[in-house]
């Protein structure tokens, strides 16, 4: 068998000639569009690729991106960040989480600040690294602050699986896993009457890559059917994104509205059933989960099932964890930006009260958020 190198996995998907080829195809096809279209890439991984490879510069003026809410740490509301902050400063606690969490500020500060104040905060690449930390620190309570979309949820579930089966006494969980389809619905058809989702400008969705590997493409079937929005599930590489855009544009010019998969090498309709079963075993949907900049979104977050309360840090530490809501900044228009109804520079606090170093809305938290990108690249992109 031929030896497979790591670079074989991405090399062809970054070929400048193929990228330029798709750019040409899109330009030609887009000439037939009756009106401009706005495509939301839901996932932060896509936003990262789009920015890194400068893809908007290759698209015609009538095909636009709306950067979605798909960066899991950016959408964590201050309340949840505060929980992490408070937990990390509890006596005898080691707080373990994934790296992206470090900089995100809550109302009291970020985990970086907590660490500078003496908290023991560890950042891991894989939730399973928590096992080693717990083993090396038997006298400490190790709390895994679980974040991420459907991609990382099964990893948390498998850590729980090991903790329970091996009866590891000192690992606990604070759950913040969120789900993709519910927030997509929130953007185009909010159940909150105070939210203007009716006027959203999202014409189509570029579906997430890794999330869809786990969930399968079936979770998007409602969008073309019920909401009249085409979805193309695409890979993260630039060729994938360009091909995905081309497929979306073609749907519009050919008057189709469907769910299609560009990322066929990894995504099936049913997804990873083993991972889905693990999730179902330990978690259930919370009625509401609050998103920074978007407010409470029904059924969009997971919590531990009641029978696992013994490892639920939110229950164990309920006396020190505040439950009061912290309002998003009144003038923050994140929700409108995510719905394509406003541009970042139309926000009155953009660049003044809200900056990458002191972000208020989710769009400014991530370097890939629409506001942060505008702030940083404003005169080039």
């Amino acid at each position: 068998m031929a030896h497979l190198e790591l670079k074989d996995l991405y090399d062809g998907f970054r070929d400048p000639k193929i990228i330029e080829g798709f750019a040409k195809l899109i330009k030609e096809e887009a000439k037939k569009l009756p009106k401009p279209i706005n495509i939301m890439e839901v996932c932060g991984g896509h936003t990262h690729s789009i920015m890194k490879f400068g893809l908007p510069q290759l698209l015609p003026a009538n095909v636009n991106f709306i950067h979605g809410p798909g960066c899991p740490v950016c959408v964590m509301p201050k309340e949840r960040i505060d929980h992490a902050y408070i937990l990390s400063l509890q006596e005898g606690v080691i707080l373990v989480t994934l790296g992206d969490m470090i900089k995100v500020p809550g109302s009291k500060g970020s985990l970086q600040d907590a660490r500078a104040k003496g908290a023991d905060v560890r950042f891991v690449y894989s939730p399973l690294d928590t096992l080693k930390i717990a083993e090396e620190n038997p006298e400490k309570k190790v709390i895994f602050f679980a974040i991420g979309f459907e991609t990382t949820t099964p990893m948390t579930a498998s850590l729980i699986d090991i903790v329970l089966k091996r009866k590891i006494p000192n690992i606990f969980f604070h759950m913040n896993h969120v789900t993709v389809p519910e927030v997509m619905v929130e953007l185009i058809d909010s159940r909150d009457e105070h939210v203007d989702s009716y006027n959203n400008q999202i014409d189509a969705f570029l579906g997430p890559s890794h999330v869809s590997v786990i969930t399968g493409s079936k979770i998007y079937e409602q969008f073309p059917k019920k909401y009249n929005r085409p979805v193309v599930v695409a890979g993260f590489e630039p060729v994938d994104v360009m091909e995905g855009i081309y497929m979306i544009v073609k749907q519009f010019t050919e008057n189709r509205c469907e769910l299609e998969i560009e990322y066929k090498r990894s995504v099936s309709r049913e997804g990873n059933k083993k991972a889905q079963a693990l999730i179902e075993e330990y978690f259930e949907k919370a009625d509401l989960f609050k998103w920074r900049g978007l407010g409470n979104v029904p059924d969009s977050g997971y919590k531990l099932k009641d029978e696992f309360s013994a490892i639920d840090a939110e229950k164990i530490y309920k006396d020190v964890l505040p439950i009061e809501e912290i309002e998003d900044h009144k003038l923050c228009i994140c929700g409108d930006i995510l719905r394509g109804m406003a541009k970042p520079d139309e926000c009155t606090i953009f660049g003044t009260a809200c900056k990458p170093s002191s972000p208020l809305g989710s769009c400014m938290v991530s370097s890939e958020g629409a506001c942060a990108a505008y702030y940083k690249y404003g005169n080039l992109l």
Partner: protein, 332 residues
């Protein structure tokens, strides 16, 4: 400024600059310090003077150890001002219980590297502190060198210059991350940790008109280019396809979500030389093992002042920013 010092303030990027200017420069302000070069130029341009402290985990990594690093680091800072390292001091803080055998190994590495540079340690200090007060061992070295070519400065780069890099980038950072995270690689990825005195000497002896030199340590090549763009008030335009990155480093970057231009190097330097001298400079560098793949990576323009632009092979461009925060992997 934040109330407490955070790890991000030591990253060689934005937060690090803020710490230096708002706390240290404010207190120590003087003309020499404010030039912000790799080494201070003193005694009417005759001597270069520099200091650096070293802490690395793991202490022994593929391609080097903290001892080699401690000598290379300071000698390279001197070399980057066109100086030949002469005298070093060495100060070591050791944690109680540290293995004697490892200490000897580290000192042996230092000795070997000093020889390569033709420099000697002329003064030293040792402190042993209780367990837990430091992470195993911290080493500080300070060095003086005689300047062989005057006028090298990151403040004078112009459109007459082109930017070269001495070898493939990001090796040290990638090797350290791989070692820390226990990533098993089929090929052997080694740190680029090396002394650069010989190469710089050869460039000077060949009569190359060197405008600026800087070793791309913390913050990597992108930090150097951004500092230069600011200090010389220019725009630097990098051709992405010319950036030399080995397959191993690229692979680590893909796995962990890094970019090679942001990763630390310990034996890789960036040069600004006059256009007409670029080929000769490359010829000189190519004669050394650890710069055999030196290459031109960027030109200077006035398109976006004080900014660095990365031009992709498929015709798009973006700003190449100074790394901020700690280097962290992406989660999705």
């Amino acid at each position: 400024m934040q109330k407490n010092v955070s790890l991000a303030m030591g990253n060689g990027g934005l937060e690090n600059n803020e710490l230096i200017t708002k706390v240290f420069y404010k207190a120590f302000k003087n003309d020499i310090l404010e030039k912000s070069e790799d080494a201070a130029v003193i005694e009417n341009g005759k001597l270069a003077f520099s200091t650096d402290s070293f802490t690395v985990s793991p202490l022994f990594f593929p391609g080097g150890d903290i001892g080699k690093l401690a000598i290379c680091g300071t000698c390279n800072d001197l070399a980057m001002m066109g100086a030949k390292p002469k005298y070093l001091t060495c100060s070591v803080i050791i944690e109680e219980g540290f293995a004697m055998r490892e200490l000897e190994k580290i000192v042996h590495s230092m000795q070997k590297e000093l020889k390569k540079n033709g420099a000697i340690i002329v003064s030293g200090d040792t402190k042993v502190v209780p367990k837990g007060s430091v992470d195993k061992i911290f080493i500080n070295t300070t060095g003086i060198g005689t300047i062989e070519q005057k006028g090298i400065s990151s403040n004078n780069i112009s459109k007459e210059d082109v930017i070269l890099v001495s070898r493939d980038i990001g090796r040290h950072g990638a090797a350290i991350f791989a070692a820390r995270e226990g990533i098993e690689l089929t090929s052997t990825l080694e740190s680029d940790c090396a002394s650069l005195t010989e190469q710089v000497e050869a460039l000077i002896n060949a009569g190359i008109k060197i405008t600026a030199l800087r070793d791309a340590t913390r913050g990597g090549v992108s930090a150097v280019l951004n500092e230069w763009a600011k200090q010389s008030n220019i725009c630097i335009e990098v051709e992405e396809k010319t950036l030399p990155v080995s397959d191993e480093v690229y692979g680590i970057c893909e796995m962990l979500g890094f970019e090679a231009v942001n990763l630390a190097n310990e034996g890789t330097f960036v040069l600004a030389v006059k256009k007409e001298d670029a080929q000769r400079a490359l010829d000189v560098l190519h004669s050394f093992d650890n710069s055999h793949n030196a290459v031109e990576i960027a030109s200077v323009s006035d398109a976006y002042m004080q900014k660095v632009i990365l031009k992709s092979p498929h015709g798009t461009k973006r700003f190449l920013d100074v790394p901020t925060g700690e280097l962290l992997p992406r989660i999705c």
